[in-house]
Subunit: 164 residues, 2 copies
């Protein structure tokens, strides 16, 4: 099973592609879709959509795992992240992909067994579970792998709930 | 100039199409894109996208006027509205349309001269400015016309700022 994990954002969408087999996962790729600040929000959304379509065409994932949004204090950033996430969900729907969403809490618990784990601990576990030589950079790419791994783990344990 | 006004939402997207000429505006159509609660969020986003594409193909607007989001107390609704708005902006960008956004305050001021006007007063002015026989139904359709009229008014006064 190939899983595309997505950490949504307007400026940076992080992604991680993993393959799972018999309980073991290996990293296929990870990276980010960047959109320049100089562009308008609609143009940036359009670049995210195109980027998602290319990723799906390239890696042909069986499903998508995406971070659920929680709102911090910055409402403007929150709205933009949600607008970007809408476009990401659209791209995946148009490609007929199953989608699963996980909260930051679920990701922390799945990877470290501790819901209040710090970012460094998550990155440590991503590196370890995928037998990587170094922590994936940038952070958003590592977050993409983390949500993909969370899905692999959840699928192994049963109890999946597709949002589509 | 044909203006497509949009009141974004996940369950209901309101729209109003108007034509402006020499300072006068007439209504061409108004209505809503409804998405059923039974569908998943991604599927609903996809229906909104398809609905927007159809509206644009049908009315061939010169530009889009869309309500800016403000967050009320319901964060989940807020996230879903923003996700829907992202998909709407994407559809308009892919159709190469200019887009303009207006806050509820700007809409109230443009149509009634009073930033704290109530919904009924806005609906009264929409009906009056477009010489309609009755208040457009449902409310979301009237809101679509209101934001389109706001753009017509703003364009007449100068001082436009396209978000794309």
């Amino acid at each position: 099973m190939i899983i595309l994990g997505i950490d949504p954002g307007l400026a940076i969408v992080g992604y991680g592609v993993i393959e799972t087999q018999k309980g073991a996962s290996r990293a296929i790729d990870c990276g980010v879709i960047n959109t320049p600040k100089e562009d308008s929000v609609p143009v940036r959304l359009s670049k995210i959509y195109d980027g998602m379509m290319s990723l799906i065409d390239k890696y042909k994932p069986d499903c998508i795992a995406i971070e659920e949004l929680f709102f911090n204090t910055n409402i403007t950033t929150g709205i933009n992240v949600a607008q970007a996430r809408g476009v990401i969900l659209l791209a995946c729907t148009q490609k007929n992909l199953k989608m699963y969403e996980y909260t930051p809490l679920q990701i922390k618990q799945a990877l470290t067994g501790y819901g209040k784990a710090e970012k460094k601990q998550i990155q440590f576990m991503v590196t370890r579970l995928l037998n990587l030589k170094a922590v994936p950079k940038p952070d958003d790419a590592a977050d993409g792998l983390a949500v993909a791994l969370t899905h692999a783990q959840t699928a192994r344990m049963g109890g999946l709930f597709s949002i589509r």
